[in-house]
Symmetry: C4
Subunit: 195 residues, 4 copies
């Protein structure tokens, strides 16, 4: 199986997830600008999820650029990742509506953690399918970000029960960490093309 | 008509169906973790549907890989399949919200049964359009899974009125049966390429 | 501008419209099969709209197959068509929820009428852009179906205020009329390829 | 990174945004035609947003036609634009439900303003990435429309608090301004192909 239809399907699912999360933002009942205040936590929560989903789309795109053939295992690992990401609108809405209460904020982190694990499984299967000298393996190198993120999520989940704002700050920290440009895959591609 | 736009449209519809099913998961009102308990049946129901839709997407993809030209009949048989699959979010929501009550659990099975029949019709039309020596016909062989699934659905629909959990277990059984790798179509492709 | 992105965007919008119409089907509150009875009018209404959107997707697909280049006018005529089709879920929900009351049934027909006019405008712009000997012009020929449909819609809209079931029957009639295979465009393509 | 997947993802998100805005149009409770009257402001608000999103899709399409390679900066600038556009259904619903009250009408303009700024940032990054003699830079020329729009939005936002209908008229004016055919990019392409 070629990878085009897998990419197209993943793009479709990610585009829908990123967009339906906004459906949680219901128009407020009042008409004054102050009526927007209760929507604010939900809006912050939506921004955070939008950035995370953008990062996943971006990294997913780069990872698949190294893939030539898709095995059955890769296909299901990809669906497994999309499953956890599909829960993001649900936990975004709950965390926002609860104004970052402890429980929903911890559950938000749990979904991020499970998505990160699913991404790691997918990445490992692709590396395994590429065999020795895997382009992706060279591209991710020691994968510091990939290893640090789940640890920070676990810390944030625990922190949510003490100080939810700290958990929120840690989620934002991981997002910023991934936003900082990271040319690993481009570099690996370039290295391959050099003589 | 080529098959690209048919694939793209089907992928789009399946991506949306798989994603809007999650809209049934409304954020709970409480903020404690216990507030998630009432959502649990809906969550289980969502997982089951996600797996089923993933299997349909996967099988649909493999089936269309054997197709070169799309006839009008194939096009409408495909829309007929998408119609029954589009009802999955509705029955998922009903079964989950009712905590797997007899009626909704039976109706869930009825939709699975009708989707399976629609898939069979689509498959038969493609085989017929390929004529003798059909690649797809060789790929599906005796089609044991395809024949067993509707029988199990019928049993499960009847079982739902006696013990809904048994129906649920049978639906999960069919899903697991399809998840077990099945290299029929790859094998048929490989056989064709051999001398 | 090439037509690929226009097709992809139209497919995306049509896939979403066809799928979100089902969101109007809310899980019933009861758990008996009888609880489905109030959903029945909405379900019938949904089937009708699904078939109409399938026909539009199908015809749109064939029409664009004759197009090589997309002008600004064609692009906006296409968006105009998508606008009226995007109202289908709204009028489907209203007609179904009202159990085919006069007003909503007439408004449903009005949206079908406006979509048919938008389709006619799009078709005319494509024919004009192809100049003399237009492939599409030969394909549609006298366009009996295209001319009969708006007339039947107008009759049905008037009939809705006397007997809504008659309007519903007329909408179904037009759908059946279009479902009957119609190989005009294939024939025109074949004719072009013949010496 | 090639631009195909960026285009496909943007098309997907725009198709979903343009379509879910219509979900705000809930079927009215009555069954008479008069029951549509309260939906009218929402309907007008939906038309306006549909046209805006159509313009964005159209311009986005033309702009990307000049791009060969997508940098990380362009990718995130594109997601930034999609973020503000994803808020359009929310502000459309609020403005419509409030019957064009001052606050929601001003917030609608603020989202349009932020989307326009995001579009400008994306355009500037593309021009910068193309270096001297940028095809896009020649195509946009002095970019009068691009410069006038934000100014009109700011005026409209202020006007919303005095006379919301004036703000609405100004939003419509900007839309009409962009609808008037503008062959800048086609001309630039044509100029490039000339000797």
């Amino acid at each position: 199986m070629g990878k085009n239809r897998l990419e197209a399907f993943s793009d479709g699912v990610l585009a829908i997830i990123i967009t339906i999360a906004v459906l949680g933002l219901r128009p407020p009942h009042g008409t004054s600008l102050a009526a927007l205040r209760p929507v604010l936590p939900l809006f912050l929560s939506y921004i955070l999820s939008f950035v995370y989903l953008g990062i996943y789309w971006n990294n997913h795109h780069h990872m698949l650029a190294t893939v030539d053939r898709v095995t059955g295992g890769v296909l299901w690992a990809n669906l497994h990742l999309l499953f956890w990401l599909s829960l993001v609108p649900f936990v975004t809405g709950w965390m926002g509506a609860s104004k970052f209460a402890a429980g929903p904020t911890a559950v938000y982190g749990a979904v991020l953690l499970l998505a990160a694990i699913a991404y790691f499984v997918l990445q490992s299967l692709i590396v395994a399918s590429q065999g020795e000298g895997s382009l992706l393996a060279r591209a991710i190198g020691r994968d510091l970000k990939g290893k640090a993120s789940p640890i920070i999520y676990v810390v944030a989940i625990a922190a949510a029960f003490l100080a939810p704002w700290l958990a929120g700050a840690l989620y934002a920290l991981v997002a910023v960490m991934w936003l900082i440009p990271d040319r690993r895959i481009e570099r690996a591609f370039a290295a391959r093309e050099e003589p």
